[in-house]
Symmetry: D2
Amino acid sequence: MIIAMSIDATEEEIQHVIERVEECGFRAHVSRGAERVVIGAVGNNQRRHELEALRAAPGVEDVVPLAHPFKLVSLQFKRERTVVDVAGVRVGGSEAVVIAGPCSVESREQILQTAHAVRHAGAHMLRGGAYKPRTSPYDFQGLGIEALRLLAEARAQTGLPVVTEVMSTEDIDTVAEHADVLQVGARNMQNFPLLRRLAKTPRPVLLKRGPSATVKEWLLAAEYLLAGGNEHVILCERGIKTFETELRNTLDLAAVALAKELSHLPVIVDPSHGTGRRSLIAAASRAALAIGSDGLIVEVHPCPERALSDGQQSLDLAEFERMMRELTAPLPKLAPSFALAC
Amino acid sequence: MIIAMSIDATEEEIQHVIERVEECGFRAHVSRGAERVVIGAVGNNQRRHELEALRAAPGVEDVVPLAHPFKLVSLQFKRERTVVDVAGVRVGGSEAVVIAGPCSVESREQILQTAHAVRHAGAHMLRGGAYKPRTSPYDFQGLGIEALRLLAEARAQTGLPVVTEVMSTEDIDTVAEHADVLQVGARNMQNFPLLRRLAKTPRPVLLKRGPSATVKEWLLAAEYLLAGGNEHVILCERGIKTFETELRNTLDLAAVALAKELSHLPVIVDPSHGTGRRSLIAAASRAALAIGSDGLIVEVHPCPERALSDGQQSLDLAEFERMMRELTAPLPKLAPSFALAC
Amino acid sequence: MIIAMSIDATEEEIQHVIERVEECGFRAHVSRGAERVVIGAVGNNQRRHELEALRAAPGVEDVVPLAHPFKLVSLQFKRERTVVDVAGVRVGGSEAVVIAGPCSVESREQILQTAHAVRHAGAHMLRGGAYKPRTSPYDFQGLGIEALRLLAEARAQTGLPVVTEVMSTEDIDTVAEHADVLQVGARNMQNFPLLRRLAKTPRPVLLKRGPSATVKEWLLAAEYLLAGGNEHVILCERGIKTFETELRNTLDLAAVALAKELSHLPVIVDPSHGTGRRSLIAAASRAALAIGSDGLIVEVHPCPERALSDGQQSLDLAEFERMMRELTAPLPKLAPSFALAC
Amino acid sequence: MIIAMSIDATEEEIQHVIERVEECGFRAHVSRGAERVVIGAVGNNQRRHELEALRAAPGVEDVVPLAHPFKLVSLQFKRERTVVDVAGVRVGGSEAVVIAGPCSVESREQILQTAHAVRHAGAHMLRGGAYKPRTSPYDFQGLGIEALRLLAEARAQTGLPVVTEVMSTEDIDTVAEHADVLQVGARNMQNFPLLRRLAKTPRPVLLKRGPSATVKEWLLAAEYLLAGGNEHVILCERGIKTFETELRNTLDLAAVALAKELSHLPVIVDPSHGTGRRSLIAAASRAALAIGSDGLIVEVHPCPERALSDGQQSLDLAEFERMMRELTAPLPKLAPSFALAC
């Protein structure tokens, strides 16, 4: 932690900060420059937040943290990449996995038809919403427990492990009984009571990045899970909110590469929410794999124009099948090299 | 709802959309322009989300909603402005109210000292966090039930009604027992299970705007409360996330005026989170009142540089007292008019 | 400048950075912490950018600048606030000024009618676009030189100094001949050749903040003007681009207070572009004055619904007159104090 | 264009809007719904902006444009994809091209060494800045005409066509004399006088997306070039400004796919500015090709830590060589399919 004093800080103010730094159990390392004094707080990190409050001390211009605020999720802490095993499907290994299914479970026929089709096309897990977080109270809110039973039936028929969202601490046990992976939705990324309780389940957690969360905030949300005892965490980039209005979200693929540089956890991509536009999903999925994503979670519906949610960003069964066929096709060639030509 | 067909939509695709619109119980009003066909869906609004899925139908370029998606919070629905009565303090009337207190309740001495001081300076309610949502699991998480008891003691001594955050459905009853207003934090604005349960309490709810929520999303979150039965809702603007890094958030004061144009609910402003910078809070508070805010919620701490959270944006007791004295001082004069001069 | 080495930086890498720091003429001040080594570069600021490139050196995790990158615009550099005198109108003094007029000059009748009306209502300067930067090449691009002549005629009739935008270095001389203040539009805030040339005119410059410029970038753009020799600079906040779509821009009023804390230059506010919504302009203008703005620039048109640009955010003559009457009316009262009541 | 009347619009207000629509040469198509009246303006698009001003007419709630505002750049207008030929290098064909070189030309040795190295590694064009737009007036501003001569020498030695930025209308002729492609920097994307003059050169233009420009605004900037007579336009995505601070910009790869869906122009990607972080550039480049980019423009420097600009995001020669070798390597495999397994 670096404390930069303002140009006109008095000697008294400087001494006061030094005392506070030492009071918090750090060593104060003072640099006296031509223009200003800079104080480094050297030591362990336990009472870091008390140092941050020094922004309020007289004569302090800024307090700059240098260390990353997360630990257990850090690749510096654990050098070996985490592979999350979901009923035999390995997320974070050398091969990519695809999770597919409808935004919401709407009926027995819909979910079973979709499950068989995505399995046939090569998907590795089934997704489907039972409890839906909807911006408007008047929109379809999900079938709840009935949807969980249908998902379990789809799993029994296809063998596909099931991923579904849990929105409330009260639903965790029920959802964990029926599903293989518990998803934390983007709006709940910083729902800390939910994270603390999910840390105590034996189920893997799929943690979506919040629409306005920085990569660091995302990793700190994962830190809640690991610190609470659950190491089976899969991160999921699903687009962030920006000024661009033509697409529903801005898919931040570089964040995938960055998250994998900073953390040992596996990272997958949701190109459906990430773009909100059916025509871009296949291309975005290929880009996700190219930048190092460990997999994809894709919305698929037998009849998108009749979907009760997210129809505009759902692939139909044929489109998904085609996408899967072309997903790992070779990248385009480069133009002939000048080096050879000349 | 307007469905714009793409330029090269076929007659068959147009007919298909018309059929779907009518199937959903709307009348289809077809405009055939020089370039494209536009279909208006005329009728009530119940199955609106099914029309939105038509974005996935062949030949459709865009689906544009025209009506606002909220109802009960709308000023068009209820023409009279809502005044929320909190133990005799009226929020949303012709006079502005000020809620003040520390970010977190840290000790008996801290909260009692602050409560007396802010009451003396003219504050109308006391704030103080018992359960703290913190980005990092290693930061101070609040004193919980002990803090609630201390807040109740402070109320007993000062008469100030108490505002405190509730983070989890499981804590609602306990918090409602000790506090007068239940605050929904910015990160929980779209925690729908929490909103649905708060709709059933008799306590007023202070609903903070999410850091990346549009005004419409904010009003829809309030709609969850009103639709569930709780009409005592106070909206609170507390800054949004933007590219600007010099300040913690971007205080969106025009959103206050907009929210009051769209809704009958009272709106207050949190200049502490809204700017994150102590030196700007007094000026931002005056601007909030000038743009029509019904009040303020301000962080105050006896010794900000020792605060366990948000020290850099907390006023000390003297600063708060000064701010209150100058809060409604006259605006600066305009330069002399040319009209008079010439 | 602080150079934070990564946790696993080798001694060789640390030495290399120290050498580079000294090679650039700084003194290297090394702090060896429990976890990492931090190197402070102490000295003058001339070759700062060379230090920034050390982000690319092996073993370096981050390079953190501590000093503000601007000088001449800084309040630390010049302690006295700048007042820009525009033909007798003082911008930045203790009284606020109002600049009003149409987005574009459209006809002789339109500009003269508007000029007389805004002068009568109490405005201090006249605005009007001659060269219009338009997102689409098919939109109205302004009347050019003819508009400049009409503005000069309006000034002759009313005595109001004229503010108008200059978009190109080639137009500077012509515009400077007809106008009193040269406006740099938001899109041109970082048009450095334009800034360098405007630094050489004797005319005051109104520098709008770019829609995605941080306050620091804005001040650095002003620094181009002052460093080039023109000290008569008025800053203008006009809203920034955010995810919020209900309003055209997000008016960043706290940035006004921040700019005045960091710089001695006067700052005004454009509530017309800042909100894009007629109904919010009067309230936003009052808030601007409350937060410390030195003035306003407001779009006014005799018949907004027929305006060739920005009609939706232009006040008509009667609305402007009303706004001026109520601009500095008292702020709302606070509710009665508990301190008195108990 | 759709004009939505507000719920309480009077019949008189509705009639007034109908008259204005017809006065502008459109046919008014009126839909009377249960709640509100919606007026479609049917006809050609010439006086579109006059209709937009109807937002200011009494009783109007919103004006919603349906058609895209661009024409010549549109894929609906010209169905065949544009291939830009740069001295024999085809941009926009089936093969990807790579443009590489330093941010700034710093010396003869630096640019020649880089040119030979990137050619050897397989690059197709050379980039290098002669005129540098720098946020601070105190940063290195480029070698100007001397840099142009050095670039021409590098081309003569290597055969690589040269791409360099032009910042001012006054420099266009000189730059066009020495370079093969004229680059419009991100900050100048909406410098309309510059675009209008570049529309008259015979040289291809590389148009970078502005850091806060929507895809539509970017395409409208290109429309200025095509409408003015220059069809040789290459679009370049280089990251947008968002709340994320860990990376310099947020690389918006989905925008590449979207731009190619909306327009026939070729699109390339700048992963150097797009991420601002050396370690992510190779992965981001692969993702760019995967999502359909027609090529890349990459910063390469013989010694990034000594670069006078952008060192932290420049590859050194060996890194670039490695990146080129792996650029089109196969994507990772999918995990074994359940369909086969069961």
